[in-house]
């Protein structure tokens, strides 16, 4: 039975999340590396107050994902595939051996800062449940106003889509979606218009920054955010990491590719259960766990047992 590790993105954070990591030398090493590379304690970023900042959220998520991956690795559990949602993709790239954790910290810190600076006010994201992509796309087209631009963003499930852009525009689409049959639609507590062309300049800067670090061939196949392909070429993965912030994340397709490649056990790295819930719904006959809900030891036990099959 093949195993996939899923690394969550922004929205899964919670205060003091680093305190919930399993205690082992692998985790300690990751936390120490983070502190050393950031020139300040990594624990400064995960407090409730700090998590108001995109940069702090992203650094905390990266650290938690990589630390847990390393803990599994130390116990002899390595996945057949990795995929991460948005900033989670950086944790996945570290797990796949494509970029070093130290470099990932540098890039993710920059990513968070650039995202915060790009649109300080008046922009954000919304989520629409219960209508499909084509229909939402046409609603967005109906409402498009250059003054308050809105774009289709992530496809988390066939009927769970996010939109990104200027707040008044998002509000219009949300209201109309509800009228036109959406089960629910609402604003997300996100202050940047992520995963849409408004962040093209961030992608541009990240491309440059990513060119200054060393990349390696993945030792574990990595599913990309933008086109939902399994990527084997480090140059393709680098492009995916840079472009993802200004492109829609095709999460449903990315995880479906893993399923079609034979993944039947999915384990979500901490924090949270967002990705495991999506996977459980999309693949009813797969085994889906999250470290958050089942705990590290149980996940490790199931992974070891299922790998023998």
């Amino acid at each position: 039975m093949k195993l996939a590790f899923l690394f969550p993105g922004q929205g899964s954070q919670k205060p003091a999340l680093l305190n919930d990591l399993s205690t082992c030398t692998a985790v300690e090493n990751v936390l120490e590396t983070a502190t050393a590379s950031l020139n300040e304690s990594v624990f400064n970023f995960h407090s409730k107050e700090s998590l108001a900042s995109t940069k702090a959220v992203q650094l905390s998520l990266l650290t938690a994902g990589v630390a847990t991956f390393k803990a599994f690795e130390m116990e002899g559990v390595t996945p057949d595939f990795v995929a991460g949602h948005s900033v989670g993709a950086f944790s996945a790239a570290v797990a796949a051996g494509v970029i070093e954790f130290k470099d990932a910290l540098k890039i993710v810190k920059l990513r968070g800062e650039l995202m915060e600076q790009a649109y300080p006010e008046g922009y954000g994201m919304g989520v629409v449940l219960g209508i499909e992509r084509n229909k939402l796309q046409s609603l967005i087209a109906d409402h498009f106003d250059a003054k308050y631009p809105v774009y289709m963003a992530n496809q988390n499930a066939p009927d769970q889509l996010t939109i990104s852009g200027a707040l008044p525009g998002i509000q219009e689409v949300i209201d109309d979606a509800r009228e036109k049959g959406a089960r629910s639609s609402s604003m997300l507590n996100v202050r940047t218009p992520s995963h849409c062309p408004l962040l093209a300049s961030v992608s541009h800067d990240l491309t440059e920054a990513l060119h200054d670090i060393t990349i390696h061939r993945p030792v574990i196949p990595y599913a990309g955010n933008r086109k939902a392909r399994l990527l084997y070429d480090p140059i393709d993965i680098r492009l995916d990491l840079a472009e993802s912030v200004s492109s829609a994340v095709q999460w449903h397709d990315a995880s479906t590719v893993l399923y079609e490649k034979g993944a039947r056990l999915f384990i979500e790295m901490p924090p949270g259960t967002v990705l495991s819930r999506l996977a459980a719904k999309a693949f009813p006959d797969a085994r889906v766990l999250s470290v958050e809900e089942s705990g590290f030891d149980d996940c490790q036990f199931v992974a070891m047992r299922e790998r023998l099959k």
């Binding site: 219960g130 499909e132 992509r133 084509n134 939902a228 397709d253 479906t256 590719v257 490649k261």
Partner: protein, 553 residues
């Protein structure tokens, strides 16, 4: 005259295919032991027995997969083996497409790719594979003997003896057809078996059709795809099943049929010994079946409803039950089921009164499709059975019952029934203005839109609202009205003037449950002959042995 003769004489040999085969077989002499390829030499042997550009047919049914051979083929070196043209009826396993990712194979002809439908679409878009055609099973099997004759066949059997005789047991499926296409035109036939034995329970395929046998390190993959747990059958599906039994099976005296694998048809099977029995229909309907051995058929068999069942393939857990019911099933001397995908598909095309299945989308004209944008899933067998075969000449009461004209040359029609709920999961309407299939045609540059069942073949549409008797419509407009009348509150249904429904009911084009004397309140799960898998096991006297995932006790 003289010139013609000269040309003929110039041809040196009529055995190029046989010569090439011998040469290939000579090249592996050091690797093999007679017909036996040692398990650990399979990859080496494949690199010699198969050559770049070969047309390779790889067994991949719905349930049974030649998984050892497909994994071995995916491990060959693309420097030695490339540009293969694969023919795979059901693209189900990851390595079926890994062959293209790795550059071993280039072109594909297939029937169904549901389990790999996203990767199919992606790889086509990325030009990692070249699309041949998408077929129904019968078409693909037919082409194996005409213009897709394989150079190599890779198939799976349960057991073999040292002479290459094969026992496929209950899961014969498409194996004989694939072997025949290669063996009798000097192709090479390689069979993976679970076990090599001195004595076979019966011979399903003779050893003289086979070139090589290899004992697999793991048994071939077998999936219980046709088991539906009655626990998931809803009251709405029961209502629809009651309507089908009264408004279609009884009304048209349907004696022979194929059922799809949905819960709605499972509900019909489980209502035969209860609801249909109370209507006195036993012996009058549903006697002969072209069908996989659905466990949900057991209560009807036990109640004496079913005369015969011919199967495409087997079903995990049904082996002992079938062996103990040989009056009903096709069985060998050893007692176990003999299935045959090709022959059962052909029977389902020509020899049955009715096909009934479900769909994800239906347009105003009754065309239906199960494709989703961004996925390339293909067809399988449904379009083959779900159409009116123009070559049919024999008559049955149901077939004749579809005649609507007094024309002296009038002929009957196969009943093609689509059962759907007006909305599918996730609030998606089933009745739509335009099929996603049209977008898929554009996205993937297909020659035709991948329509599962064409509207002009559909005789009946059943929803939770009622039945539309499309075969009675004498114009496209009437046909659309009848469909809209049962389309509920979908955009298609909302445009329908409900006053027209009464006219359609008077004309017999539409029947609501009350027209069939069915009370919605009566449609309850208590009508099911078995409400869960455990009760099916009880009906079978413990002979049915469900796979673990269906056991709750």
């Amino acid at each position: 005259m003289e010139t013609t003769k000269q040309v003929v004489n110039q041809r040196k040999t009529w055995t190029t295919r046989l010569d090439a085969k011998k040469k290939r077989m000579d090249s592996v002499k050091h690797l093999v032991d007679g017909m036996l390829i040692p398990t650990e030499h399979i990859v080496d042997a494949m690199e010699k027995l198969i050559r770049p550009g070969d047309r390779v047919v790889l067994e991949g049914n719905n349930q049974k997969q030649a998984s050892f051979l497909s994994e071995a083929l995916a491990q060959t070196n693309p420097k030695n083996l490339f540009d293969l043209h694969m023919i795979i009826s059901s693209i189900s396993r990851p390595e079926h497409l890994d062959l293209f990712e790795r550059g071993i194979a280039k072109k594909v002809d297939f029937s169904y790719a549901g389990p790999q439908s996203l990767r199919m679409a992606q790889m086509l878009e990325d030009k990692q594979l070249t699309m041949g055609e998408i077929h129904t099973y019968i078409e693909l099997y037919g082409r194996l003997f005409i213009d897709l004759i394989p150079s190599v066949a890779l198939v799976a059997a349960d057991k073999a003896d040292r002479d290459g005789n094969l026992y496929t047991g209950p899961n014969t499926e498409e194996t004989p057809t694939l072997v025949e296409a290669a063996a009798f035109r000097d192709g090479i036939v390689i069979v993976q078996v679970n076990e090599l034995t001195d004595e076979l329970p019966r011979v399903d395929i003779p050893g003289s059709w086979i070139d090589y046998i290899v004992v697999a390190d793991k048994s071939y993959q077998l999936e219980p795809l046709f088991t539906r747990d009655p626990r998931h059958i809803t009251d709405i599906q029961i209502l629809q099943a009651m309507m089908v039994i009264r408004g279609i099976y009884e009304k048209h005296q349907v004696q022979s049929l194929n059922h799809g694998i949905g819960y709605n048809t499972a509900a019909i099977e489980l209502l035969l010994p209860t609801y249909a029995e109370s209507l006195g229909l036993k012996g009058k309907i549903c006697r002969h079946w072209a069908l996989n051995p659905h466990p949900t058929l057991i209560p009807a068999i036990e109640s004496g409803w079913i005369d015969s069942v011919h199967c495409f393939g087997g079903e995990v857990g049904m082996e002992n039950y079938i062996a103990a019911r040989r009056d009903v099933f096709f069985t060998g001397r050893d007692g176990s089921l003999r299935s045959n995908r090709t022959l059962s598909q052909m029977a389902g095309q020509y020899a049955v009164d009715l096909f009934i299945g479900s769909t994800l989308q239906m347009d105003l004209d009754g065309n239906s499709s199960t494709v989703t944008r961004g996925r390339l899933a293909g067809y399988g067998g449904a379009p083959n059975m779900g159409h009116n075969p123009g070559g049919r000449r024999h008559s049955t009461p149901a077939w004749l019952n579809m005649m609507t004209s007094e024309d002296p040359l009038a002929r009957g029609k196969k009943l093609v029934v689509q059962v759907v709920e007006t909305f599918q999961a996730g609030n998606k309407p089933v009745f739509v203005e335009s099929l996603d299939a049209i977008d898929v045609k554009k996205d993937s540059a297909l020659a035709t839109a991948p329509v599962m069942i064409y509207g002009d073949d559909v005789t009946h549409v059943v929803t939770e609202e009622g039945i539309a008797y499309l075969y009675k419509a004498d114009s496209m407009e009437k046909r659309r009205e009848a469909i809209a009348a049962v389309a509920g509150v979908t955009p298609v249904g909302l445009r329908h003037d409900s006053k027209k429904t009464d006219d359609l009911r008077r004309e017999g084009l539409v029947a609501l449950p009350e027209d069939l004397h069915i009370l919605r309140a009566d449609a309850k799960r208590s009508l099911l002959a078995a409400k869960n898998v455990e009760e099916i096991v009880e009906w079978s006297d413990g002979l049915y042995e469900p796979p673990v995932k269906f056991r709750s006790w």
